[in-house]
Point group: D2
Chain length 503, copies 4
């Protein structure tokens, strides 16, 4: 029986006896924990959107011949890749935070082609295994989390060179029917509220790293997993009761460290095992999808622009030219992010495996702008909010019979605006620029899918500087015209295509 | 007999006895004028590209059932709009300057749908007329220039309010078979090297401006036209002989003022006449296409990046980390422009007339970035070039037997680099950042297709701030959830679609 | 007996029975409240610095003929103004937050000259009164808070036009020996830990606003005052026990709303009463001092740069060229702020009253950069910190016997770095970029001493655009040379001087 | 007889039979060459300013006991250093270009202390020699040019490692009474219009580079010197006759390559000879002065702001809010440059030699902003100018009887503005953003006194990252409080002081 609604999804998470730790204590039932629940609500909204807008959030799957949640779908056309972006922006608009399912979606799509290529080279059978796994997920309508980032230890050293070999996830034992793995994955988005997790290597591997070249699917309920929940700015406001001070009481993201303590994975759930030369390939394809997935932040940007416009209106300054201009600037930056992301999706090309993959240059450009512009939007939003965004007394002071009336009297905005509404809007802006969802809107924008320098490296690799030099040399009269058959600086050439050409 | 090559095109421009003035004198034959010729070469390259890469630079036309130059093509699919952008970038790469044909292309496409809508409302017959005109242009393979920008005089006043009524182009006489028009069009890109010019209104008109609501095609050879050629930075270097100091000796842009002194236009070449309410509509559709056309500047950006990389290499510092990082930054900015532009094209929607029009929000975002980033690329290119880019002696000093050997000795770069090649590369960078093609790469990037504030106004109109406010209010708990059926902040909603919805 | 140490200062705050509300409850003794105490510690450090570095943090006062804390000192030379900036940066370095005493210092200095000019015009005796008041403060070594920002209500209306006349502080009753005032002051920095508060008008007043033109000193212990403590991001971490998660356990800022409920002020503590034309003057002089006081943020910037450098080192990437480059960029921006601020101080001019006032143009430029660069420093710091800055588990998870060893194992950085130290450094960066002191480092940088638009207005007023136009017109040959006697665009001309010249 | 006016200065340059080459030909008399003359006019203005505003542009010299031009003055107080900046800004305002005398001024001041320290260490007598030389210059009121930048050849190699040993200036022969030097100095600002040139090493030298450690004064008229004049954008407009198209007909900068072909220098004019360890020291002191001297560009910025304001006014849009806002932004950036520069001067410290030297950190920060902000000011100025700035026909077209009236009619701005005046203002903006003085305002801002990376290296050296780390570690609880006696991150610590402390 597949999950068909947000409620059913939430129900499906109960009773799993997960080893979740938070504030030094084991959490009995994460679903009912007020600090964790908003992150579950955000994922639930991905189910609800699929119900309300099936064109947007579901797609017919050739694997199962049924219509599946788009987060579980293997792209079969350019339109499928583009639709992911539209869905992501919409969910960003609806939740105002990270809804956590993109990692799984992007892992599924990158593994789809990597397992195919892997089999082609090694005669292995990963691709069929993987299709079976995905088909099952689609039928159950499960949430898959992707786990890539190892703790890394000394960054000057590779996995097999670390003092502690567990600092990257690895196979510690091989059995006839599967492997046992150990290690940890840091700051994993949306794991406690997933059903399955796919563990993947985090970087280029060498021959010495053979045991680290492991891709495996693990059920979240596996007793060998421990989840240590990460703190977020202002996270405990969710524990205070009241609904205002949290800013966005309903939705939040979730980040946890997953410790994998000798978990057995049967071979049917293993999708790479030792083929070290495909680790970098997988990372690159995954980040190509995933950096473009950061289009989701334009949905959050829409919320923040709306909040800034609302508070300006409540303050009675919506008509000031500098206010209008700042909203335009916010929009311009937000749409600049969107442009590169959706362009990357539109420029998708099919892999030999049949799935479609977006353009890597534009994906990296999209993500790189995401490491800059949300911070600028946040800055402008704080500008428009006024200082009260950081000095507002607590909801309890508003409820207190002595101070409440004073605040009601003195914190009134323009006529016709309820003081509480103004307070709520300020708390939303605080939430997105300093508070809990600032983690999703800012810090995750910086580091998710790779820190800024990672994008710069990819841009450098894909920028075809030699082709560009030939263009300049031709016009300067230093060299003959570049051969026309080979465009000197194809702006959208996939890194992969370039590699094929060289081979 | 259609024009089939760059040479034939150049030949077709001869002997037209145009009234072209330059440096206070009438130019006998523009084709042979060394200052004008590079701008003709750039247009010739649009013919040559069509020969070499027909997939890129031509398209089958339903109007004429023949394959036509893409600059004359009415878009019949999303792919057609996207292909325009690819062609534009390629031509930017090949010429390193403005190749001047986009205005005509974008005018044709916007008039195609405007004349259709105009007929629908007024029962006129402009659309068929216009199709016949375009078909003829396609068959002859002519260059069409678009002329939109009136001198405007006192910007605080509309056309009919000016002290001098001629400050906007207008109908001064109506005859049974056509109209007589008068006025001027300022800084017209690529007119002396066009075959026909389409005159269009430049702004929203009111009922009082009826005589100004005129769209008309005029052959460039009409004796009522006077072309006063604009100066560009360093333009006279083309007159010095030598090929180095010009920087890009082969290609340049062209800007001229066209004075229209009572030119008669037969009705068959009139495509709007008095329907004032369609003036703003035409401007908006034209600028939507045209702001996205500024993707061409990423082709120039490719050249400049290539030049910066080459000079760094010639200086022996290509390996320095800050040099590599600056090239990445240039590329990132350049591709950010490209992303929004190509995304706008990919998000094209059909008009009722059948042609496809790109997304207005992303088109404006593209152009707005074009008003910023080329200046930053130019700054970084000057950084990488070193001070010599602005202190290099003239080519003649290199040819002088006394000073030549001294310069050869002292301006040598890293071993293996010819001093003259280094000099050529510096001159190309000077050309694009201070010199003649800086006009096309910088100033035209600022003002072409509308100055920055024009984009901000369009972004403001299209940003759906009310929808965004509803998103924020919902999450802050101030208002109920926005109706799901109506996405609150559709990121790619066309302005036009929004208008239709409201109607 | 004057206060001579931080401890004595803290002691002096006890037992005042203030009406302080926090989280809906009255606080028994603010000094002992763990959430409030760090803000008191920050002020205590101003006393300690005066002990340790008297040259920096004290100055001889002509008023009292004793050496006084610099925060209570009336500037008697350019060097005095400059020394304020040096002290401010040092305290920012030592506390990593807002130490809250600048408002009082700048209020004292601006009132010193305003009361003088006021007496000159009106024959009043405010100046002597004010000198006596300041002398007493110096002798007791008290902390003075300045209270300027009224709640403002409908920003489209002036004080006397509001629906509720109390939305700006005003005189509600006049008695033979003094006045009774009512109203509120919003987001007041450092009030609960002050001894006295000086209430001042917040904006230009008209004749109708006579009752609002009131400047008065009130003891913080006055029973008519209610303090409603503002929430800050992550404020409750101070209540959790433990010292790590707070990030900067020792120091914080403090913002509260002060409600003034019919407080009687004897005339000896009234320094303006009805002279509406001096309200704007006071605001301008105060903001001139105070915008330059934001040099303090460069001290916080030093801490953040140090934290970013430390975490990069702990992560093992201190040698990466992009890391070093980011630290340079942070420093460059931080010193750019400092440059304009210290320049403003160096360019101080004496007022007729004898005190020295800094340059207004450069003060506004300093503050305007403060509304931009700390956000960029915060962004880069988050970049260098890595994603862990927002996903780190709580201190309690580190202390838990089950999860502690796991975190110890998996969150290890480069060899030789204690995991707890890495955690502490990440928490400090979180504290300054998202957490409690992000309020002081970011939001207060935006709005303190006036929001960005306020600086732009002052820059516009002081920029002498007419003088600059004359320079350009002269060089363009449009106009004769500007008279040499009158520098056309005096870069450092005080607004006030310009006013005098016109008068 | 000292030179006492601009005219006398110009007269003093005549008849020197310099070997100046321009456009491949030897220039008979540079003073009368229309392309060279504007650069001479700019220097003449430094004499005129000294006449009109002696307080600003002259100073009493202890060396000669007379009042001397400030460009020849050795700073004797902080005020002297500050006054240099004021004079520089004023001259930038008056000429709108580089007035070329700062190199000499900064060379004199840095050599003053370096020769002193050199003698202290080596027992040489350079300092007295140098004082005699400067005294003579002061008495004659001569212009001194400073020549530092060697051609450098392969930048991966030092002077003595180059294939051609002449790529850095060096001693080729030692005689009993002096030395013979050979080499070249690239892009020398203001040399043909100087009386003397001081040649200095350009970088850190090693023991192997002994012959390159040479500082020598040479009269410009020495027959061993050849000057090859550099081209500037639009330079030939000065040859066209007419005064409009040049934009700034009266003033320009000057850059030339100086080839030194075995020039004999008597020992009395040698101020360093072989003491390699002082080469880097000299470069650092010189660049410390000189990077702060770039405050001059704020004077050019004043002109450009004025031009932008004027053209906006002429276009009739001066009241538009975005126009006003752009002028404020230009001013803000311009004053930000000024702030760091004047702060560096105010923070000057005396050298043991007795002269005052500005703060190195703030000097580098000033110059680094100069490599960024003038480009942004230029961009905004082009925005405000409108497209006509790059499409305006030539002055000759305005003078032509046929086209003149057409341009007069169609290029009219708002009522009351002469078309010619509008044209002149546009040409001035073109001159400063694309044309001849864009070289001085932009490219020289980038590379003069060291390219951007050079400043970043100095900022890195001076930023005391270890001190800043201690601050952070203390607040994070990782380390004890930094010793109070030693401020951890002295913001204004001179590099030199730090060096002394370590020694």
């Amino acid at each position: 029986m597949p999950i068909t609604s947000g409620d059913e999804y939430i129900q499906s998470l109960r009773g799993r006896k997960l080893r979740v730790f938070l504030f030094g204590e084991r959490v009995e039932e994460p679903v009912d924990h007020p600090l964790i629940r908003p992150s579950i609500n955000a994922v639930a909204e991905t189910y609800e959107l699929a119900r309300r807008e099936p064109e947007l959030a579901t797609a017919p799957s050739s694997l199962t011949e049924i219509r599946v949640n788009r987060f579980l779908h293997v792209t079969e056309s350019v339109e499928d890749v583009v639709a992911q972006n539209r869905m992501q922006r919409r969910l960003g608009q609806l939740t105002g935070t990270c809804f956590q399912r993109c990692v799984g979606m992007d892992a599924v799509n990158s593994l789809y082609s990597v397992t195919y290529d892997l089999d082609k080279k090694h005669g292995t059978a990963y691709h069929d295994r993987f299709k079976r796994f995905v088909a099952e997920m689609q039928k159950e309508n499960f949430v898959i989390g992707g786990a890539m980032t190892d703790p890394k230890g000394d960054r000057g050293k590779g996995p097999s060179e670390q003092a502690d070999p567990d600092l990257f996830v690895r196979v510690v034992e091989r059995r006839p029917d599967g492997v046992v793995i150990r290690g940890a994955k840091a700051h994993q988005t949306g794991c406690v509220n997933s059903h399955w997790i796919i563990v993947m290597p985090t970087m280029r591997l060498t021959k010495a790293d053979r045991d680290y070249a492991i891709v495996a699917a693990i059920p979240v309920g596996d007793p060998g997993l421990t989840f240590i929940y990460g703190r977020q700015s202002c996270d405990t406001r969710a524990l205070e009761g009241g609904a205002i001070d949290a800013g966005n009481a309903q939705y939040s993201g979730q980040e946890a460290m997953i410790v994998i303590d000798d978990v057995f994975v049967p071979f049917e759930n293993v999708f790479m095992d030792g083929e070290v030369e495909f680790a970098a390939e997988l990372v690159e394809r995954f980040t190509t999808y995933h950096r473009r997935s950061y289009v989701c932040k334009t949905g959050l940007g829409d919320v923040l622009i709306g909040a800034a416009a609302t508070i300006a209106d409540m303050n009675g300054v919506a008509g000031a030219s500098h206010v209008k201009d700042k909203l335009v600037e916010m929009t311009h930056l937000n749409e600049t992010i969107y442009g590169a992301g959706i362009a990357s999706s539109h420029e998708s090309k099919p892999r030999p495996a049949g799935n479609y993959e977006c353009d890597p240059m534009l994906a990296n450009v999209c993500k790189h702008n995401v490491t800059r512009y949300p911070y600028e939007l946040a800055r402008i939003a704080q500008d428009l909010a006024g200082g009260l965004v950081a000095t507002l007394p607590s909801e309890k002071d508003f409820r207190n019979p002595e101070t409440g009336p004073l605040l009601e009297k003195y914190l009134r905005g323009r006529p016709g605006v309820r003081t509480e509404d103004r307070m709520r809007m300020l708390r939303l802006i605080e939430n997105m620029t300093l508070g809990r969802n600032a983690v999703g809107y800012l810090t995750e924008s910086m580091h998710g899918a790779g820190s800024p320098q990672a994008q710069r490296i990819q841009i450098q690799r894909g920028m075809d500087v030699e082709g560009k030099k030939r263009l300049a040399q031709h016009l300067a009269g230093v060299a003959p015209a570049p051969a026309d058959a080979e465009p000197a600086a194809a702006p959208i050439a996939s890194l992969d295509a370039a590699r094929r050409k060289r081979a």
